[in-house]
C-alpha cells in the first residue's frame, strides 16, 4: 500500500477546517436570524393577544351592554341580534340615562358600527 502523502493530510485537515468554519458561520447566521425572528414573533404575539382580548372577544358584548343599560337605569331598551350584529334601540329615555349609557359604551372596547343619537333616543349597532 502506498504511503499517504502528508500534504494530503494537511490539505484534508484544511478542507475539514474550512467546512467546519463555513458550517459554523452559516449556523451562527441562522441562529441570529432566528433570534431576531423570535423577538419579532414575541412582539406580534403580545400585540395579537392584547388586541384579541380588546377587540376580538365579542362573546361578552351582549352581557356587557345589558349590564350598562341596567347601570344607566334604562328599562325600555330593545335588544335584537341580527347577522353578527347587536341592535340596541332606546326610545323615550332621559338624556341623563342615555348620556350615562353612551359614556360606558365609549369607554369600553365595543365595536360601534352605527349610531343615531337624539336627546331622548339612541339607536346603535354593535358588532358581535
Amino acid at each position: 500500500m502506498n504511503k499517504i502523502n502528508p500534504l494530503f493530510i494537511l490539505l484534508f485537515s484544511i478542507v475539514i477546517f474550512l467546512v467546519s468554519l463555513t458550517t459554523l458561520n452559516e449556523s451562527k447566521n441562522t441562529l441570529k436570524v432566528l433570534k431576531d425572528e423570535k423577538k419579532e414573533y414575541l412582539k406580534i404575539a403580545i400585540n395579537y393577544s392584547m388586541l384579541q382580548k380588546a377587540w376580538g372577544d365579542t362573546s361578552l358584548a351582549q352581557k356587557n351592554i345589558e349590564f350598562m343599560l341596567k347601570a344607566a337605569n334604562i328599562q325600555n331598551a330593545k335588544i335584537n341580534t341580527h347577522q353578527k350584529e347587536l341592535i340596541i334601540d332606546i326610545k323615550n329615555a332621559s338624556i341623563k340615562s342615555i348620556d350615562k349609557f353612551l359614556n360606558k359604551v365609549l369607554n369600553d372596547k365595543i365595536i360601534i358600527k352605527d349610531l343615531t343619537l337624539t336627546t331622548n333616543s339612541l339607536f346603535m349597532k354593535v358588532e358581535l
Partner: protein, 276 residues
C-alpha cells in the same frame, strides 16, 4: 546486533545512476555515495543530544546547512553519524523512475549489509551490488573501484535475501519550505480547531432547536393562529378596528364638547360622524 525486520515491500538499491520500472511500493537502500558517514567520539549520553551538535563535526567535509543527520549509537560516547542531502535523494528517486508515494522506508547501505552471510571463498567483507564493489573498511562501508578487488573473491548480494534493520530515515517529499513535523503540527492544529468549531456548531444547532420550541410555546401561550401569516392578517384587522373605533370615539367627543348648543341629532355611518 540489531533487530531485523521483515521486508514487506520490494527492496531496491538506489545509486546515482539507478533506473527502475516498478509501480508497487518499494523500500530503498541508499548507496554510500548518497550520504556521508563518520564515527565520532562525542561525550553525550544519547542520540537526540548528539543530533543537536553533530553538524559541527561535519563542517570540515560538507556544507552543513543543506544536510540532514541521522545518529546510531554504537557504544557509550561513540556514535555512527550520517549526513544526507534530502533534496538530492528526492531528485535521484524521481530520476530513477520512481514515484515518491511509492517509497516506503529508506535505509543506509552502511547498516544493511553487515550481517550478510559470508562464505569462505570471499574476502571478509567485500561484496558486489549492481556491478559496483563495496567493502567495509574500519567499520565504514565504502564503494571501491573493481580493480581493488579480485572479482572471483566477491560475492554478489541478492537484495531478496537482505533483511532490513530498524535504522531508517524519513524523507520530507513535500516542500522545501515546510518540514514533515510542521505539516503534522499544522494538520493537528486545523483538526483541533475544526473539532472546536464542530462543538460550537452542535451548541448552535441545539440553540436553533430551542428557539423553534420556544416559538411553539409562545404560539400556545398567546393562543395564536395556526400560521404566522394568519396571525398577522388577523392582527392587521384588529389594528384597523382599533384605529377606526378610537377615531370614532375622538370624533364623538369632539361633537359632544363642541360649543354648538342646538345639536339635536348625532349620527355615525361608516365610521363618519355627522350631526344636525
Amino acid at each position: 546486533m540489531y533487530k531485523k525486520i521483515k521486508n514487506k515491500n520490494k527492496l531496491l538499491y538506489l545509486t546515482k545512476t539507478s533506473n527502475f520500472s516498478f509501480e508497487e511500493s518499494v523500500d530503498l537502500i541508499l548507496s554510500p555515495e548518497l550520504y556521508w558517514v563518520r564515527i565520532f567520539d562525542i561525550p553525550l549520553p544519547n542520540e537526540k543530544q548528539v543530533l543537536s551538535v553533530v553538524s559541527t563535526f561535519f563542517e570540515d567535509f560538507i556544507d552543513v546547512e543543506n544536510y540532514k543527520y541521522y545518529i546510531k549509537k554504537q557504544e557509550d560516547n561513540k556514535y555512527l553519524c550520517f549526513a544526507y542531502d534530502e533534496s538530492q535523494i528526492i531528485d535521484l528517486i524521481k530520476s530513477a523512475g520512481l514515484n515518491l508515494s511509492q517509497v516506503g522506508n529508506i535505509h543506509f547501505a552502511q547498516n544493511e549489509f553487515k550481517s550478510f552471510p559470508e562464505n569462505e571463498f570471499v574476502s571478509e567483507s567485500s561484496f558486489k551490488i549492481d556491478d559496483s564493489y563495496y567493502i567495509y573498511q574500519d567499520n565504514i562501508l565504502i564503494k571501491v573501484p573493481s580493480s581493488f578487488i579480485s572479482p572471483l573473491e566477491v560475492q554478489t548480494i541478492d537484495l531478496e535475501l537482505v533483511s532490513l534493520s530498524k535504522y531508517k530515515i524519513s524523507i520530507n517529499y513535500n516542500s522545501k519550505y515546510i518540514d514533515l513535523k510542521s505539516i503534522y503540527i499544522l494538520s493537528v492544529v486545523f483538526i483541533f480547531i475544526s473539532a472546536i468549531n464542530f462543538g460550537k456548531l452542535y451548541v448552535s444547532c441545539n440553540s436553533i432547536n430551542d428557539i423553534t420550541n420556544e416559538q411553539a410555546k409562545i404560539k400556545e401561550k398567546y393562543k395564536m393562529m395556526p400560521t404566522i401569516m394568519q396571525t398577522i392578517s388577523v392582527l392587521k384587522t384588529f389594528e384597523k378596528t382599533e384605529k377606526r373605533q378610537l377615531n370614532l370615539r375622538k370624533e364623538l367627543v369632539k361633537v359632544f364638547n363642541s360649543k354648538k348648543k342646538n345639536i339635536t341629532k348625532v349620527s355615525v355611518k361608516n365610521y363618519k360622524v355627522s350631526y344636525e
